[in-house]
């Protein structure tokens, strides 16, 4: 068995298949909780556990896919670039909002990590969790955090923001669609943006703008994590 699964093609096949299944499940159910990434990860873990396949065997193929992570992040420049006109039009509210959001997120997480007495590795894994996965994981890795914990926190945050979004808009009495969109994007990245797009066009556009801007601001703020911790 171990000889059969230690070739890289096994991991690549399993990942593609699980991702395909994850996308199908999300489309079929239409539920936010059935996030395609979450479904694929769970599916792979179940397969590996049931057949007693060690993570290392899977990662022989997984590492090949992992190589594309960096270049995939590079491509986010294209999505930011295509929204540049909107950024120019609203630059002040976007910058003020995203900076406030990033600082609030990092600050509140830091305080709560202290209260719960979490260690340094876990804390730096959680600090960037409000921004989009590629940037959050890059920040986590650079600070010596545990990448899979960051990914899990990013997904939980996204799903939370998506589900709570409409209630938060009411709770904080947000009337301005620009404010609601930027709030959703900076609190819960792409998964929150899916909800913003449902609420309205302006909300959706502003939310997706916030993904990139908050990501870059958080990466810059991470330079000072050493001072904070």
């Amino acid at each position: 068995m171990s000889a059969l699964v230690s070739t890289p093609y096994f991991g690549i096949f399993l990942t593609v298949f699980a991702y395909w299944a994850g996308v199908k499940v999300q489309k079929r159910t239409g539920l936010v909780v059935c996030n395609n990434m979450l479904v694929s990860i769970c599916l792979i873990i179940v397969v590996l556990t049931v057949f007693h396949i060690p993570y290392e065997s899977y990662y022989a193929g997984g590492s090949v896919i992992n190589m594309f992570l960096g270049p995939a992040t590079t491509c986010m420049a294209v999505s930011i670039y295509s929204k540049l006109e909107q950024l120019k039009k609203n630059w002040l509210p976007v910058l003020v909002g995203c900076l406030t959001g990033a600082v609030t997120s990092i600050g509140s997480i830091l305080i709560m990590c202290r209260l719960f007495g979490l260690d340094k590795a876990t804390t730096v894994s959680l600090l960037p969790k409000s921004v989009t996965t590629p940037i959050a994981t890059a920040v986590c890795e650079g600070q010596g955090g545990i990448v899979p914990i960051t990914v899990a926190a990013v997904i939980v945050t996204g799903i939370g923001g998506n589900l709570l979004g409409p209630y938060l808009i009411k709770l904080f009495r947000i009337k301005d669609p620009v404010a609601a969109g930027l709030g959703l994007g900076s609190a819960s990245h792409a998964i929150g943006t899916a909800k913003a797009l449902e609420i309205g066009e302006t909300e959706g556009a502003m939310s997706s703008l916030a993904i990139g801007v908050c990501g870059i601001i958080t990466a810059l703020l991470a330079l000072f994590f050493d001072v904070l911790l």
Binding site: F68, V78, I109, V147, L164, A179
Partner: protein, 121 residues
Amino acid sequence: MKILVQIGMVFGLYWLSQCIEQILPFPFPASVISLLLLLVLLVLRVIKLEQVREKADFMLGNLAFFFIPVSVSIMNYIDVIRENAVAFLVICVVSTVLTFGATAWAVQLTCRFLNKRKEGK
């Protein structure tokens, strides 16, 4: 061939960013350097959007896929998760609520300020 050149460009850019990461005196992730680099090149029109569009659309459309292998390693950290499950959940939910509120209020205040200044003129 077109796609191959695009792949080459993005990978080349990423390699360049890794080199920059090595030179920088402070730790800054290569992936974010490459993002900023491509953004600057697009803004300066050194690279045109058409020259990277297909590759970028493919990568961005399937972004979640590239994260799966590293995320599966969470199975090696089940103990850390189980021990801190309550803390993780509270931190995720509370910070999401606070971040949303702070951002949205900051934006509303800024917009109000801008409108007043416009009316004042």
